[in-house]
Amino acid sequence: MNVHPTILAMPVAIPLLFGALSLLMQGIRTPHRVRVQQILAGIAIGANLILALLLLSYTLSGGRMSFQMGLWPAPFGITVYIDGLSAIMLTTVGLLSALIFPFAVATMDAERARLGFYPMALFLLMGANGAFITGDLFNLYVFYEVLLMSSFVLLTLGGTPSQINGGIRYVVLNLMGSMMLLLAAGITYGTLGTLNMAHIAVRMGATPYLVQAVIAGLLLIAFGAKAAAFPVFFWLPSSYHTPHPAVTALFSGVLTKVGMYSLFRTFPLFFPWLLDEWQPLILTIAGLTMVIGVLGAFAQPTIRRLLSFHIISQIGYMFMGLGVAMAPTPYGVGFGLALAILFLVHNQIVKTALLLGGGAVELETGTGKLNELGGVVALRPFQAALFFLAAFSLAGFPPTSGFIGKLGLLEVTFSSGSWVIAAVSVFVSLLTTMSMIRLWQYVFWGKPHSKYRMPKKLATQGASMAMTVPVLILVVLSIAIGVMAQPALDAVQVAASQVIDRVGYVETVGPELTASDLQIPFGNYPADAVAAGR
């Protein structure tokens, strides 16, 4: 299949165009404004999903593409680059937004819809897409800010006291993370003289170890803060439970996962050798993130607070995958990274399913407090069954995607000799199961309370469908990945092999980049051992 590289502008252009159009609608005083915005958002999300699937089919057949904006040659212009990992992320985020959209349309109150939920959701999508396809470190920072600015608005939309409280923490801690990223970009430019990711990869090997360590450390802090990893996760549990449930589901599927994507992209590309050298550090972060996340979940009194601590806990597994990304395994180098990508996708699917299911319970009963809930299984047996399946997928039971992801990660960590973290992750899985059982016990078992208030808007057949069908699709997807694991594994292995192929990345972005740096040894790691320049 042949696609023209200009198509790479579309994942950013489509949400931007439709977001801007529906933002213009904000100024038009008509009773149908929200309806028009919904239609615009629907078109944009649909087009984005189709585009993402097209790019996915192109990249998974082995293709890679890059495009220089304005046709400026590689290190000067802004590079857009796509490979398997970017396309997988584009597709997952596109799919999740397409599934959250009907949920939002059915459950969003008129006030929040009028204040501009739909344009902001489109800008969020634009920022995420931009971060997935950019090939320029400073541009990555800019797309992070686009993503964050729209998430700030979405988080505080409606302006209730708890939202404002959570919003302040969220904005401040994320601003700090962004500043670290900006500082990393600045130091990179000051020492390497370039911001193009391919060019950075070429030049990184020849810089002193100290500079590499500073840049890598700043990137680890910055992306770790976005991903909510161990010492810098505090913004997440203090804000995720406050907005509308559809917003929480969107955040859990997009925001933290963009941070993980950036780690998967930058570390194997810029300094793959540091993944080996810093493995103890990364695995320690992973273990602490897992344990603290899951233990925090036990203390939480409401559905969404509990689930947001589980987001943190699951991020730990992805860090574990990052730690063993370049570890030698019987299946070849990069198998760890492949499984980390698989786990990332699994987590996006399952976490969104849980938050949509839990959000539906909160909306239908009027409360999310565990001690005020109970007996939902009698009211909504089908939704309860879906929630149960998603919870067990999160805990890692077969035949779901969680089982495949965790089994694979365990296999890699054991075979690469880091058995301590493997043991911790098994223990955390057990705790996750306990925590999910606790949630289930409080929310679904027991007698229904008499004071549940079903809002009139949600009592219709259509609203009930819009709240159930997205969860159903996500759960089916999770089970499908678990049952037919081989195609999923093949896909992520293609993606991982493209990510660790540094030479291929530079060839795709601009072959002249290596030619202009004749003295610098450059190659794939560990096959061509770049250690000479270090």
Binding site: G167, V171, G186, K457
Partner: protein
């Protein structure tokens, strides 16, 4: 010498900013964030070469040669700073609005101790009612109240768009 002074200044700004953020009170928070963003911008500024009175302009007839490198400062970091200033200004303005909003809602610029009661219990399986009383400030579900009361139970509120 200029470079060392700049480095010291960046460090001092970072330190002051971090100290201000750790203090109680939201205005100090905003000022501290302002200092930290300034520190980062200044650090970015230092990544171009620091020269005086040498604009990065090559006369029309002259060719750009390798010998010219280092004679004048790199202008690119300044373009980066411009972007960063706009972004951090926007975010800071947003924080100020949020703080103003919280002040208007709660009549105080300090955050209520949301987590205090949650930490009090050690047994995760304990029934909540006996151990924990959630204060009003920790109510997450004011969002739902808002929806249920003002819009859902009031059909004409939905149609009235403006």
């Amino acid at each position: 010498m200029t470079a060392i002074m700049l480095a010291v200044l960046v460090g001092v700004l970072f330190a002051c900013g971090a100290y201000m953020i750790l203090l109680r009170g939201q205005i100090k928070l905003v000022l501290g964030l302002g200092l930290i963003t300034h520190a980062v911008n200044l650090a970015l500024f230092g990544t171009g070469k620091l020269t005086r009175g040498a604009p990065p302009i090559v006369p029309h007839e002259q060719q750009v040669t390798a010998a010219m490198a280092g004679q004048f400062a790199d202008p690119l970091p300044q373009a980066l700073i411009l972007t960063a200033i706009v972004i951090s200004f926007g975010v800071t303005a947003f924080i100020v609005v949020l703080i103003y909003r919280r002040d208007a809602l709660t009549g105080s610029d300090l955050a209520p101790g949301e987590l205090a009661t949650v930490i009090n219990t050690s047994d995760p399986f304990a029934p909540f009612s006996s151990r924990m009383v959630m204060p009003e400030a920790a109510d997450d579900y004011d969002i739902l109240q808002f929806e249920l009361d003002e819009v859902y139970d009031n059909p004409q509120a939905e149609g009235a768009d403006e």
